[in-house]
Amino acid sequence: MALINAETKLCDVILNEPALIPVINRFGIILGVGDKSIRTVCEEKKLDSEFFVTILNTFVNEDYFPESRLKSFCATQIVDYLTQTNSYYEQFQIPNIERHFKSLINQSDRDNNNLELMKQFFDELRKELLSRIEHDRKVWFPAIKAAAEARHSDFYGEQASPLSNEPDTLEEKLDDLKSLFIIHLRGEYDLNLCHGVIFALYSLEKDIKQHNRIRNRILRPIAEELLNSCQDNR
């Protein structure tokens, strides 16, 4: 898809790529966007149109990832965006997959324990994601924000360091769960609900990939730099 620019009409972008609807939601824009250009919408909402356009483009084009431009945005802005994506997983995507999964299991053959086991695998993945979100919310993001604002930098400097966490396996586990559905599923099950779960998993995976690119390749180096500058000040 061609790159979006600030003069593009927001409605054309969304009509072309409905997967962006949750993304614009994260910026406080809801449907009924009218036919204004992105620049106008951003002015009305007091959003940085350059940041907005860059996020939309990286989301739509898997190959597009302008590292130096993304690093030029301020840490707070990036943290705010990632916070919004986290709450989208927490409040919408995960409950949505769970709801579909539960109905799928209820509506399917009782003897089919495949689905029950796959649900357990999903629960494991969900716990991993939720604990990462918790750590972001309580420790990592506040530390970065505080360091960026150079307040309490002595105190927070340590925690802004690239996560004590090991690199997570969320993307790989999501891939495996997809393989279990697509390659290995057996027995009787409700077709429609099964599709519902699979599509929801794909959309979560796409979103997490985008989130992780920004998290690992942009925010992590920024946080490291902040930490170094905090230490220099000491």
């Binding site: 324990n113 495996d176 769960l177 393989s179 279990l180 390659i183």
Partner: protein, 184 residues
Amino acid sequence: MRIAIVTPYTLLNLGLKHLLQKYFEVTPMLYNDTQRMLDDSPEQFDAYILFADTFVAYSDFFLPRKSKTMLLTPNREKMPETVSPTLCIYQTEEAILEKLELFIEQLDKQAEALPHDLSPRETEVLKLVARGLMNKEIADRLNISINTVLSHRKNLTAKLGIKTVSGLSFYAMMNGYISNIDNK
């Protein structure tokens, strides 16, 4: 799949690259100069597209790889029997696509050689991985080297499409290789 396109014609190379990227799951690499391709670890490619004169000039390399090579030709007439599939560069886009499709299909068929069922040894390794044993422990248990364990694990991932330990555990439970109780 990685395909090397080796002709001196930049625009021809770009045109082929465009078609391959647009319609196939292929990463094309372009070379105007055959020697440069040969200097650039040529075994990395799954296939090669080039003119017959290049094939002849560098037959030491290409002849053993004739089933992975597509020959470009300016001749519209049907070529007499050749060692490799051919592609006439003056054809319509549709005809070119059809030829490329056949070529890629044939390459996929060659790649498909790996059997899908797990071997008894792989099943053993799967069971132990699923129970949470480390590679070293598995090697000791089965009296094989760590490298052999690693190669079994690589095959498991390739055959099942599952990479993580917990993914493999759930697969093993779903297929009755281990019971839920063993695991937790």
